[in-house]
Homo-oligomer: 340 residues x 2
DNA sequence: TTGCTAAATGTAAGCGCTTACAAGTCTATC
DNA sequence: GATAGACTTGTAAGCGCTTACATTTAGCAA
């Protein structure tokens, strides 16, 4: 389908009997136009159903009031929630959010980043810091501010707005060990191109080492983000000898999937097996037994990320990373190991 | 921050010692350029880190290979899943997806639609058909094809790719009534600006009328999309006299919230109270008892919607609506009413 | 070699908008 | 009534790209 006849600035100008400059001013800085003229112009605008061509505007004005976000997938509730909060702040600031998703593929992510930049995104929200250096170079060459969310590291490479996945996971594992568990299994999310998943594994290992246990005894299985995969993974772990008494999961979905499967195999949770999650999505408090997990302030993270981005655009300020706190939410799925 | 110096087509042309036209051709229709030249040009492109300015391209070429989608919220799993599938097809066709969310607000949705159109979206995915006529006019004036998803109506007003919310809800309610329930309550999603939610209520009423019960006995409460609100609503319904023996919910989240709350109030599900959902999201099979609900082919819907859109763009074809099938998934939360 | 066709490349006119600068219009003051 | 100064509006030069059309080059038959 071809545009039959989209009205342009010039059409409006002709209709209102003014110059294109005046129409443009009416739209962008109305105070510069005397009321009478403005009214006439706005009337023509609505009569013609005019709306400005974005590309042309961006080309001429060199700014777009657009923020881009590239997330791995929309199907993960944590991103959805964080992004919703992000979007709220973006709107409050009169900007528009453009979202693209990368399906956890690095090549696609790069394409999407370039794409959003080419579309004139003034700033970018990125998830995690695991990507090729040349992308960061590209962004800095272009002078495009960006925030790395869902991750936090204590260095100045990027502006982080996130939490420390590693130490959060460590805290959870430590709690498990302190309850007396020694045979621990882990169901991790896929670690490829995913620093959050990797850090969570490292955190668990940290705790194990620090408590004098043997890291080699930790059996880690990676699984896709689904209940079913969590179930399959737990089945595998339960077939091990000696069988683990606690299973740390890289996220809540895997944990719930594991829990359901274990129960369907006749295993009592937490009496015979403890299971923990990560993220604290809503489903945790709705399953039985409810899931002990790590609370992550997703909404707050989204809000903060957006604010940081606007601050950076405003003042060309250097990165001011935000380190958000997480904490263990104790529910029913974690208990001391069974006395054997 | 200002762009320090973004390379343009002209810079590349100078570097490669060709005209801008040749560079453009290398990028858009490489077969028109002899190999040797092309190599030289592409080398310059990557040396300079050039990527084309999207606005300028759109302005000159009058097409953008961009599909826009406006969804009510990303926080609802059903949209996320459908959109992910939608996006896959969009990518396969070499186009890019731009997503905006409207927070169920009609004014915001209109803004977002105009925004995406101004940005040059070649086609649009819309959710539901409940919006001002002037928006449809706007789209048809501009010749922008669009698909209305998640809804289906037997008329030719739009190209629907969805399912019949009303008859699906009716089917579920009929099943409930046929099990012997006569005192039925409903927890609906917010119906404002939401034809899906409204249709689901209507469907339940259809079934009631058709089975000779009194529609006025149906107590409908509208609730926000959250477990907690589902819980509050069920508490209210349970306080009614006579107390309902079955509660139809407008979506799974409300149903699960209702079920949990009812159980925490000491009510046995389904022995004392039946509860049903709508959508068949993953959580249904993970709660206890598992939730009887209506299965909706969200992914398939997303895929189909995308295909329809491309077909429309290709052939200027008239709307070819797709009516997708839904069906009741019988799980544990629905049973015959208690013998009183 | 010449002449002709086809392929490769270049030229330049916009696409619709913003904005620096020029020009015009008032008002108020002398 | 003339004139400076303050507003308001108009003029026109691009922004970076695509593409119709013009030009050059290459390939090949006669």
């Amino acid at each position: 389908m071809k545009n039959p006849s989209v009205p342009t600035l010039e059409d409006v100008a002709r209709e209102a009997n003014v110059s294109t400059a005046t129409v443009s001013r009416c739209l962008n800085s109305p105070e510069k136009v005397v009321e009478k003229t403005r009214e006439r112009v706005l009337a023509s605008v609505s009569r013609l159903g005019y709306s400005p061509n974005f590309g042309a505007r961006a080309l001429a004005a060199k700014r777009t009031d657009t923020i881009g976000a590239i997330i791995p997938t929309m199907e993960n509730a944590i991103f959805a929630r964080g992004l919703q909060a992000f979007q709220e702040v973006v709107s409050e600031n009169g900007a528009t959010l453009l979202v693209a998703s990368s399906a956890y593929r690095q090549d696609l992510e790069e394409t999407q980043i370039r794409n959003l930049v080419a579309r004139g995104a003034d700033a970018l929200l990125l998830i995690g810091d695991d990507r090729d250096d040349k992308i960061y170079e590209f962004l800095s060459n272009r002078g495009i501010p960006y925030v790395v969310a869902w991750s936090y590291r204590d260095d100045d490479n990027h502006c982080f707005v996130g939490f420390d996945n590693r130490s959060a996971a460590k805290e959870m594992a430590a709690k498990i060990i302190e309850l007396g568990h020694t045979r621990i299994g882990m169901i991790a999310g896929l670690t490829r191109n995913n620093d959050r998943a990797r850090d969570r594994v490292l955190g668990v290992k940290d705790a194990i080492t620090e408590h004098g246990l043997n890291v080699d005894d930790l059996h880690v299985i990676e699984a896709e983000y689904s209940f079913a995969e969590g179930g399959n993974a737990v089945e595998h772990l339960l077939s091990l000898a000696p069988r683990p008494t606690a299973i740390v999961c890289g996220n809540d979905i895997l944990a719930v999937g594991a829990m359901k499967r274990a129960r369907s195999l006749g295993i009592q949770i937490p009496d015979q097996l403890s299971i923990t999650g990560f993220d604290d999505i809503e489903v945790c408090s709705v399953v039985e037994p409810s899931l002990t997990t790590i609370h992550v302030p997703h909404r707050n993270m989204g809000k903060t990320a957006a604010k940081s981005l606007f601050a950076m655009m405003e003042s060309e300020a250097i990165c001011a990373s935000s380190h958000l706190e997480t904490y263990v939410v104790e529910r029913q799925s974690l208990a001391a190991p069974p006395k054997s």
